[in-house]
Amino acid sequence: MSLPRSARALTEAAATGEISPLDIVEGVLARIEASDGEIGAFLEVRAEEARAHARRLEASKDRGPLFGVPFAIKDNLQLAGWPITCASRILEGHRAAYSATAVQRLVDAGAIPIGRCNMDEFGFGSSTEHSAFGITRNPWNTDRIPGGSSGGSAAAVASGMVPLALGTDTGGSIRQPAALCGVTGLKPTYGRVSRFGLIAFGSSLDQIGPIARSAEDCALALSVIAGHDPRDATSLPETFATSDRDLAGLRVGVAELPASASPAASIQARVAEAIDTMSSLGAEVRPVALPHAEHAIAAYYLVATSEASSNLSRFDGIRYGNRVPATDLRTHYIETRSAGFGEEAKRRILLGGFALSSGYYDAYYKKALQVRTLIRRDFEAAFADVDVIVGPTTPLAAFTIGDSIDDPLSLWLCDLLTTPANLAGIPAVSIPCGFDDDGMPVGLQLQGPALGDAKLLAAATTFQRATTFHDQRPGAS
């Protein structure tokens, strides 16, 4: 049986009884069986549970807004009883004692969890090569990386294995793999989606968001997972309602990019074409200035690593996860954490710990917070004149596996265009806008003002109704 590809079409078909949740699950499992051996998007597929879940749904009278929609979960989001590793050895064998609010809300809306997706360890990376459990391949070219850190989630959607996946975005970890895999990925406004149950990387930057085949599906998922959560003191009180505003009269800002992030020529060309398309759909394109954007990477890597070094302190092998036996406490900590964390995790813990240490705090962490304020103000000023800011999501399309792993700094620079939205707490979405000369997908990033998620997704939806990039699928699958 051929399943509808979009989450909306799937749930409509399921709700009317045209197709049963179990049929959907079987279809999805068959696709995973066919594709994932090559792609490696999943760390674990929980097939029997998914089938049982589908049967329970069929028996129940509830028809939630995501009834019957299978979804994949980045392996840093908890679902009670499931193993969870963050793609790290240090959590190997751990099972979640409770469910993340966002995951629970999807389940409560009738969605069916299928399995756990690969990622860069704890979110540290943009290629999913920093997973302790193997790499994930880009469905458009299996020699290439899928991006990261939500690489498994993006690859699972891009290859058509699932219509929806949850990712998390600390500096671009939803948008960058979405761009590199040719799918749509949203980082909502900070505080829109509860972080309760997300294994923290950079607490002041992290947001959970959907990766799907269209902005419309992302909006559908966001409408389910958004909203205040009493268990997250940083979650916002505002409710989310989708918007159907089109591009007519929308003020679209285009910012000059920092020199260090000069995108590849073919990416610049695709983005220019996309802006033309928006213009032809009625958008008013005008330039905006983001003068402090070039400092985003420096500020981001100080804030993110500082918070990460703190957040990862709890992984000590005392209560859960892997433990290296030792005869004294100090050796226990050193051995357990040295064996449990991968190279990139160690690099970031050390960097963050250094930035927070006595005597360096003012020069690094505090300075980074000041830059962060400047970046936020840049956006506030820009959004006084425009409704959205568009540009490339990444300076480069997906590179070849292994190409950059030994050069962390050049990898970090790839985040230059995505980190400002996290530093400012604003929503941003990446949508496909064509292919580069090698046939790899190119992502267009739309950024909006805080709480402007609905307008942003409406603009993206209008673009997608007029284009077919998001409907393209890798290979013949």
Binding site: Q78, R231, D232, A233, T234, I318, R319, G353, L356, Y361
Partner: protein, 475 residues
């Protein structure tokens, strides 16, 4: 030692009496099975987030107001990092550079005030027990709400340090923010100690003493440490800046870590908790809940004619003071209310191991008993029987003191016509006492009175008996 002036500053951790822990819904309770009173949040599971408990924040504010602090409208939480098995997140959520309260003072009760630096909120850690060859970790205490009260180094003797803690405890108990029970760990104290030559000399090198867990230990530990430092300085050597642990069993402090090993806690603002903004109305509402201070009450009691000693005993605990005041109001006799509260009432509570507020004899019942004595219906011995009868009555409708008098048959015999024959009978039987009295041994009168009380089963009115005896014995 007399050559040196001790300089002592205390840092006091106080557990707040909240229903639940600071950042999760676990009960703030003692004595449960190890690790049973935990949840993913206080046990530091991956992905959990702290949500501040409003009651804890408000109790902290009330404590600060009771100590005369300036409560800050804007403060924030920070993370303090160190690795230890009973600290499950690898950091403690505390307040660093923007605490919620500044200044304030502790009144030593003799006119002196010791200034405070600050008060901040933080979460408690778990408990480690070290056995031979292994360590046990109990996370039940993790996340219990604390305030840390930092006093300025303005104390100059172990006795003053004791007075500081005693006053602080009374104040916080009056504000009903904590039980302040050092033995149960709800009040814990670290002391910074140094010596200097004269009171205007610069401060000497300070040593921090940890693990002083009772009022007695504080004085003992300070005495030991001051003598240790004086001996070092007298020998011409210098005191090393370090943290020392009080070893109660050995009665000494010993080095825990030196300045070089001092921890870098890598404080930074807690990103999971937005800054805490306290509205003026919120602070004012807490101000109204701060009860009259124990010092003010003490002065009021002394003005009512009680001795300084009585006033001090009665204000030791807010429950005692409340009980005394309610009795006093109802019977209008401060002295009697004070006597009863300090003796029979406290003894009864102590014997039963319950709080004074839980006693079956409530203040107005006690006032009625006192009233029966005042009106002459019963004497003190009878009153005590009535008190004990009501105290030990089973559940059910309470007997009134008047009913108890009837049931016990302790109504006082005051009629001289009834008492005189008994007095004569006793005088006849105790010729020696009568003779002794007439020879001038006035003490012999007590023996006669005792016999008369015995004959009447304690019911004779002592005053009337006294009058009759004096009349009959007079030559």
């Amino acid at each position: 030692m007399t050559d040196w002036q001790p300089v002592i500053g205390l840092e006091v951790h106080v557990q707040l009496s909240t229903r639940t822990k600071l950042f999760c819904d676990c009960a703030n309770a003692f004595g449960t099975l190890a690790n049973s009173n935990t949840c993913p949040i206080c046990a530091g599971h991956p992905g959990v987030l702290p949500v501040p408990n409003e009651q804890a924040l408000l109790l902290g504010v009330r404590a600060a107001l009771a100590l005369g602090c300036d409560v800050q409208p804007f403060s924030k939480f920070d993370r303090k990092h160190y690795f230890y098995p009973d600290l499950p997140k690898g950091y403690q959520i505390s307040q660093y550079d923007l605490p919620f309260a500044l200044n304030g003072s502790v009144d030593l009760g003799d006119g002196r005030r010791i200034d405070l630096e600050r008060i901040h909120w933080e979460e408690d850690a778990g408990k480690s027990t070290h056995e031979a060859g292994y360590s046990l970790v109990d996370l039940n205490r993790c996340g219990v709400p604390l305030i840390e009260i930092v006093g300025k180094p303005n104390l100059h003797s172990p006795a003053d340090a004791h007075a500081f803690l005693d006053s602080l405890k009374r104040t916080l108990r009056y504000a009903t923010v904590s039980t302040c029970d050092m033995e149960k760990g709800s009040l814990r104290c670290d002391a910074n100690v140094s010596l200097r030559r004269t009171s205007d000399a610069p401060l000497g090198t300070k040593v921090e003493i940890k693990n002083v867990n009772s009022f007695k230990m504080v004085e003992r530990a300070l005495d030991f440490e001051l003598a240790r430092q004086a001996a070092i300085l007298d020998s011409g050597a210098t005191v090393a800046q370090e943290t020392r642990l009080w070893d109660e069993a050995r009665g000494e402090t010993r080095s825990m870590r030196s300045k070089e090993e001092a921890m870098d806690y890598r404080y930074f603002p807690e990103p999971d908790i937005p800054p805490i903004e306290l509205a003026t109305s919120t602070i004012d509402a807490q101000r109204e809940l701060v009860a009259e201070s124990w010092q003010t009450r003490r002065h009021r009691y002394e003005s009512a004619g009680l001795t300084a000693y009585d006033a001090s005993v009665l204000t030791a605990e807010p429950d005692i003071a409340d009980y005394f005041e309610a009795t006093w109001q109802a019977c209008d006799d401060a002295k009697q209310a004070a006597n009863w509260t300090q003796t029979d009432v406290l003894r009864a509570a102590g014997e039963r191991g319950v709080g004074i507020a839980e006693l079956r004899v409530r203040p107005n019942t006690l006032a009625e008993i006192i009233g029966l004595v005042q009106s002459g219906l019963i004497n003190f011995a009878g009153a005590r029987k009535v008190f004990n009868r009501i105290l030990d009555a089973n559940d059910g409708p309470c007997e009134t003191p008047a009913e108890a008098v009837v049931a016990l048959g302790v109504a006082q015999i005051s009629d001289p016509h009834l008492l005189e024959p008994i007095v004569r009978e006793v005088m006849g039987a105790c010729e020696k006492a009568v003779a002794d009295y007439r020879k001038g041994k006035t003490k012999a009168l007590d023996a006669l009175k005792g016999r008369i009380m015995g004959k009447t089963k304690g019911r004779a009115d002592p005053a009337v008996v006294g009058e009759i005896l004096t009349r009959l014995l007079s030559p």
